[in-house]
């Protein structure tokens, strides 16, 4: 079990940085870079052990499965683990220019945020999931208030009250499950609860779903996402929009398929929530004057596509593949868009698009990066967004023509606001364009993400086969139960 080592690596980095960084602040960034690079290496080592429907299990402190805590990784988890470590490395690299002071606290909190994400992705026990979810939440409340100006503090306190309130719903759901089943191990629960949902189990799952949906901004729990992404610093905003949302969706799907084995009654609810997210996200993004809010609502709409694809999976079984493929794609697309827009925010210290008119014309790397991101967001052919959206259209035709109309219209609206943002920022004539000199630490993440977006679009068969392996691991929970319980 190599990929579990990423949790001790990030924890050790988080504890070491305050000691070593107090004397020399540049060391904190070096420790963070080394830790995130090692995390990529160990998660890549895990690939051979999860192919062919095997899972990789580790029993913490040696106690066997229902009596102790188990950590289990299958193909579905490993996709997210590799994504999280790669985007984490890019975020650490990209934040060099943004952090001029308080860097020791920033990198410590960032390392602890990564620990929380990795812990949630590896969890094999419900209470363990809750504890690491709280680590992730508290680190994100603190990083929201990093600027300490008026708006950031207001966003942070609103986020904290609503977020901790919702996370306690998760604890309530876990309490109800413990009362029903007597154990909290995921594999053991899957065996005990059987198939289908009874009333109490449905209430518990609904409460846990509410907590996770708040983190990943599924409508109607999307309320504060745009506020938060407006006030954070851009690297952290990129990480929130891409990986934290994906982690929430991962946890929901893990509980839905592996633990509860929920059956097909609730698929209609997922389709409804997906459609509401798509409509609300696209329409609200169209009327925003603020670049970060526009990208936030765009991320909400893309997550809606993923939830819709998972909901349609009951009727069309290829729709699960489309859902996972689209989730991989939107992680890269949202990170790319936030990285490009963030540089402009850094230079001009405002997020209002009217003040930012034409400031991007001075730098071609930013222009091309944002253009590729905008086209991929809308689903133009040759980009990765097109491949996954096409699968979703095909699946939705078989379910109902109304869904096809809604998704195609939403993609058209996405094209409209993405190109509007691109033209305002990068094509108009600016009043006083300052030249932006870009460092290697900013150019490398943007170029890397552009290459991945185009590569996943041209070689779409690779993306589809990865999603197929992940879907097979997700839908069939018998290997999971046998692997953990032994």
């Amino acid at each position: 079990m190599y990929s579990f080592l990423s949790i001790p690596i990030f924890l050790a980095a988080g504890f070491l940085i305050p000691f070593i960084g107090s004397s020399n602040a540049k060391n904190s960034r070096r420790i963070a870079l080394i830790a995130s690079f090692l995390a990529i290496v160990v998660s890549l080592f895990e690939i051979p052990s999860v192919l062919l429907n095997k899972i990789s299990v580790k029993y913490m402190s040696g106690w066997m499965a229902p009596y102790g805590i188990s950590v289990a990784v299958d193909a579905f988890s490993l996709v997210f683990i590799i994504l999280a470590s790669v985007i984490g490395f890019l975020v650490v690299l990209y934040s060099k220019k943004y952090i001029t002071s308080w860097s020791v606290e920033y990198y410590t909190l960032l390392m602890l945020l990564f620990t929380g994400v990795m812990g949630v992705l590896h969890a094999g026990d419900l209470f363990n999931l809750f504890v690491f979810f709280e680590i992730l939440s508290i680190a994100s409340y603190a990083l929201t208030a990093f600027h300490k100006n008026k708006k950031s503090l207001e966003g942070a306190i609103k986020y904290l009250i609503l977020g901790s309130f919702t996370a306690s719903f998760m604890l309530l759901g876990i309490a109800i499950i413990y009362g029903i089943a007597g154990t909290l191990n995921m594999a053991d629960l899957a065996g005990t609860l059987g198939a289908g949902l009874s009333t109490s189990t449905a209430i518990a799952f609904g409460l846990i779903f509410a907590a996770l949906a708040f983190k990943s901004a599924v409508v109607p729990f999307h309320y504060l996402k745009s506020d938060i992404l407006e006030v954070t610093i851009p690297p952290v905003g990129a990480f929130f929009a891409s990986i934290v949302s994906a982690t929430g969706i991962y946890a929901i799907m893990r509980l839905y398929f592996t633990v509860f084995n929920a059956g097909f009654l609730t698929h209609h609810i997922l389709i409804l929530l997906g459609v509401m997210s798509i409509i609300l996200g696209s329409l609200m993004a169209l009327k925003q004057k603020d670049i970060m809010r526009l990208l936030a609502y765009s991320a909400i709409a893309q997550v809606g596509f993923v939830v819709l694809a998972f909901g349609m999976g009951a009727f069309v079984s290829e729709s699960y593949i489309a859902g996972i493929y689209h989730l991989i794609n939107i992680v890269f697309i949202d990170a790319l868009l936030f990285f490009c827009a963030g540089v402009l925010v850094l230079k001009h210290k405002t997020t209002n698009m009217e003040h930012l008119q034409g400031v991007g014309t001075v730098n071609p790397v930013l222009s091309y990066g944002f253009l590729i991101g905008a086209l991929a967001n809308a689903g133009v052919p040759l980009t990765n967004g097109f491949a996954s959206k096409w699968l979703i259209y095909v699946a939705s035709i078989k379910v109902s023509p109304i869904l096809t109309i809604i998704t195609v219209v939403a993609s058209a609206i996405t094209l409209a606001y993405s190109l509007k943002a691109y033209s305002v920022l990068f094509l108009s004539n600016a009043k006083n364009p300052k030249t932006i000199k870009l460092d290697g630490t900013i150019i490398f993440p943007i170029v890397f993400l552009c290459i991945i977006c185009i590569a996943l679009g041209i070689f779409y068969t690779a993306g589809i086969s990865i999603s197929e392996i992940a879907t097979k691991a997700l839908l069939n929970n018998k290997p999971y139960i046998l692997g953990v319980l032994g």
């Binding site: 709280e134 508290i138 008026k150 609103k158 904290l160 309490a175």
Partner: protein, 114 residues
């Protein structure tokens, strides 16, 4: 086992306080009441009729004498620490908010548009 219903009542009082009160500190107190209601519910799940505290006093006669369930008590210990951390962080942010806004009423914080 009517302790379950008292715990549910505490949870509802907590939910009402967080949603309806405007003062930020009162919302934090409401969150604390809500959290303690959940802890009470967890511990009352572990109750066994005529059970004793889960401490082994005599090795010979342990057998399977009736203890109350020790597992929810471990969950509550962890959850109390998490709740404490959130409250401390919330109060720190509220102090800074008061310095900038001169008020701690949630209705007056409206710099961020919806």
């Amino acid at each position: 086992m009517f302790v379950n219903y008292i715990a549910a009542l505490l949870i509802c009082i907590g939910i009402y306080t967080v949603l309806a009160k405007e003062n930020l500190l009162k919302k934090i107190i409401g969150f604390s009441i809500f959290s303690n209601g959940i802890h009470l519910l967890l511990i009352s799940i572990g109750y066994r009729v005529s059970g004793v505290a889960p401490i082994i006093t005599d090795i010979k006669t342990t057998g399977l004498s009736l203890f109350v369930d020790p597992l929810p008590q471990a969950f509550v210990l962890t959850s109390i620490v998490i709740d404490l951390s959130i409250t401390a962080l919330a109060v720190a942010i509220i102090i800074q908010v008061h310095k900038k806004y001169k008020t701690i009423s949630a209705k007056k914080l409206d710099n961020l548009r919806g």
